[in-house]
Amino acid sequence: MSIALEVKDLHVSVEDQQILKGVNITINQGEVHALMGPNGSGKSTLAYTLAGHPFYEPTAGEVIFGGEDLLDLDADERSRAGMFLAFQYPVAIPGVTVANFLRQSINARRKAEDADDKGITIPDFRRLLKAKMAEFNVDQKFAGRYLNDGFSGGEKKRAEILQMAVLEPKMAIMDETDSGLDIDALKIVSDGANRLKESLNLGMLVITHYQRLLNYIKPDYVHVMLDGRIVESGGPELALELEAKGYDWVREKHSQAEAA
């Protein structure tokens, strides 16, 4: 069954400062939405809030996903419900190998479904990981490395795609996935994301500053965020317009709107 992520009138504060001031967006499974906007407009706040980072405090609104309000769930429960945040800056966990981490993630899901579950067997897990690594162009040596520890920018982003491939979410938020990537790495990572979109019928919220990424991950819808609200929505042509004209016209239009 296809499900949607519905963000309704979401207000979020960080340390008593209002960052999101009423965000509305609905993403169906299988759709790609791009979220653009200048620095400080609230894009990453939305990403972290949806993933359940405790630092971000929702003060009003709701986020319905599969019939539940995500805001009532902890970050781990949201993940198990099918949400995935691909981090802009994946966190290094020294001493924990990629393989161990992924096995624990899989087992946490199984355990949540069935408290008596004994977890995936080591041979089954090895087979699964090996297949996913081959499919998503990740070096097999990755499995034994400490998670994101000493990874290059490209390796970190590829590791995020690998995690997504293993965890099979329904909805993915890609937070500036293109940052810190050269063109070759960008192609590999986008290709991975596109394939996952097809195979999992993934819904995606692609947060980016640049049109460049959207040449590789093609959005169905483009939204512009300004000062904590989504102020413009349109098709892929909106991204091209922003690329050509910058954000100033959006700012002008909406400051006038506010003034009027």
Partner: protein
């Protein structure tokens, strides 16, 4: 009580030769002139013994040999069968084995009292003469007078020991004074694991041990010590390794138990080309107090020492690590490194980390690093964002923190056992 008569009685009970009795009495005479350390002494500044009642603890004369060992203590910790195993309770040997292969190699592995009687020339040469000596302090002297039990390993020249040996020391009554003496002759190689444990009992227990590791020229020793005493244990140990020319000492320890422990651990790199690594893992909870005093002494040129101690503390537990790298004037081209990393799981826990350098040579590379930090919320969030519940995420982070030390433990069985202890200690946190 700790009297001269008690020393004589112990020595007679063990059927010791006169030279050992005399050695004990010398240590006893030294001890009589010493006082229980107080916090006014630099080495004891952060560890108070005011709760410790030495007069309530008696030296064990007859052992408690009837006690049953918990199965985990005597269980096989190495995947390949040990070449030799000694299990002791309160200084008495409960079981002992050595493989024919090791015997044929000329390896001597036996309990310390047997060594005194059967290999006096070796014991006289090495026992508390050069590594740990009775004049080092109150507890070294007390140990010299009342030591009992422990094991002796001797590997002759150019022998690569065919299999590791494993000693388990169990404390069932008031006090144990185990003595580990390892002598690796020139060009020889050995792996030794030394395990210490007790159930938490009533009243105060004491372990007053000594560890002496003598590594000859071109020789190599891996020494793994695993400590899991009960919470009513007070532990005081003096431990010292000496490394000869181009020798290697890889010294790894896990510390989980005791209510209070104070250890003096010293690596002496006596000859050019010596290499010594000290790796420590400790995890305190409740009101445990660990005080680790380490020294890396570069006494010759071209020597390398590398120390990494990692500790996690929760509840009201406290750790102290005070480390010193010394390089003598002649110890040019030495490379000394020390790092102490501490992870506080709760703000009520405490870790003091005090690195130190005393460098007399001018051409050396000596560095230190010490950190005390909390569990990183961003790491927790990252793991949780992949579906891992908070408590499990915390456990994964703590296990990851210890992983660099775990990787240095040459036995999978020991790694697993320590991993289980870590999991148990992380437990659930009040937050």
């Amino acid at each position: 009580m700790f009297t001269k008569e008690a020393v004589e009685k112990l020595s007679a009970h063990l059927g010791e030769p006169d030279w050992m009795l005399q050695k004990r009495l010398e240590a006893f005479a030294l001890w009589e002139g010493m006082n229980l350390p107080t916090t006014s002494e630099e080495a004891w500044r952060r560890t108070s013994l005011r709760r410790f009642k030495l007069d309530k603890i008696t030296p064990s004369l007859n052992g408690g040999g009837s006690q049953e060992m918990p199965s985990r203590v005597s269980s096989q910790l190495t995947e390949t069968p040990a070449g030799g195993e000694i299990v002791q309770v309160d200084g008495d040997t409960l079981s002992y084995s050595i493989s024919d292969e090791l015997k044929e190699q000329g390896v001597i592995y036996c309990d310390m009292s047997t060594a005194v009687n059967e290999h006096p020339e070796l014991v006289q040469k090495y026992f508390m003469t050069d590594a740990v000596t009775a004049d080092e302090g109150f507890f070294a002297a007390l140990h010299g007078a009342f030591w009992r039990g422990g094991s002796f390993l001797y590997v002759p020249k150019n022998v690569q020991m065919a299999a590791p040996v494993h000693t388990s020391t169990w404390n069932a009554s008031g006090a144990t004074f185990s003595h580990t003496l390892v002598v690796i002759e020139q060009g020889a190689e050995a792996v030794f694991s030394d395990e210490f444990g007790s159930e938490t009992g009533k009243g105060q227990f004491m372990h007053n041990g000594a560890v002496e590791l003598i590594v000859g020229d071109n020789a190599s020793l891996t020494y793994v010590s695993i400590q899991e005493f009960g919470d009513n244990m007070f532990q005081f140990t003096h431990e010292r390794g000496r490394v000869g020319r181009d020798g290697k000492l890889d010294w790894i320890m896990s510390i989980m138990g005791t209510g209070l422990m104070k250890a003096f651990q010293t690596m002496e790199l006596d000859q050019p080309g010596g290499w010594g690594r000290m790796s420590g893992l400790f995890f305190g909870d409740k009101r445990q107090h660990f005080d680790l005093d380490t020294q890396q002494n570069h006494n010759a040129p071209n020597t390398v020492s590398d120390l990494l101690y990692k500790g996690a503390m929760k509840h009201q537990a406290r750790s102290v690590w005070q480390g010193m790298i010394k390089a003598k004037k002649e110890a040019q081209k030495t490379d000394g490194f020390q790092a102490n990393r501490n992870l506080l799981l709760e703000s009520s826990a405490r870790a003091d980390s005090i690195p130190g350098l005393e460098i007399e040579a001018d051409d050396v590379a000596c560095t230190h690093a010490s950190t005390v930090g909390k569990v990183d919320e961003e790491e927790l969030f990252y793991l949780m964002s992949r579906g891992i519940p908070r408590e499990l995420a915390l456990r994964i982070i703590v296990q990851g923190f210890f992983d660099p030390i775990m990787q240095r433990i040459p036995f999978e069985g020991v790694q697993q056992r320590i991993a289980e202890q870590v999991i148990e200690k992380v437990g659930s946190l009040v937050e």
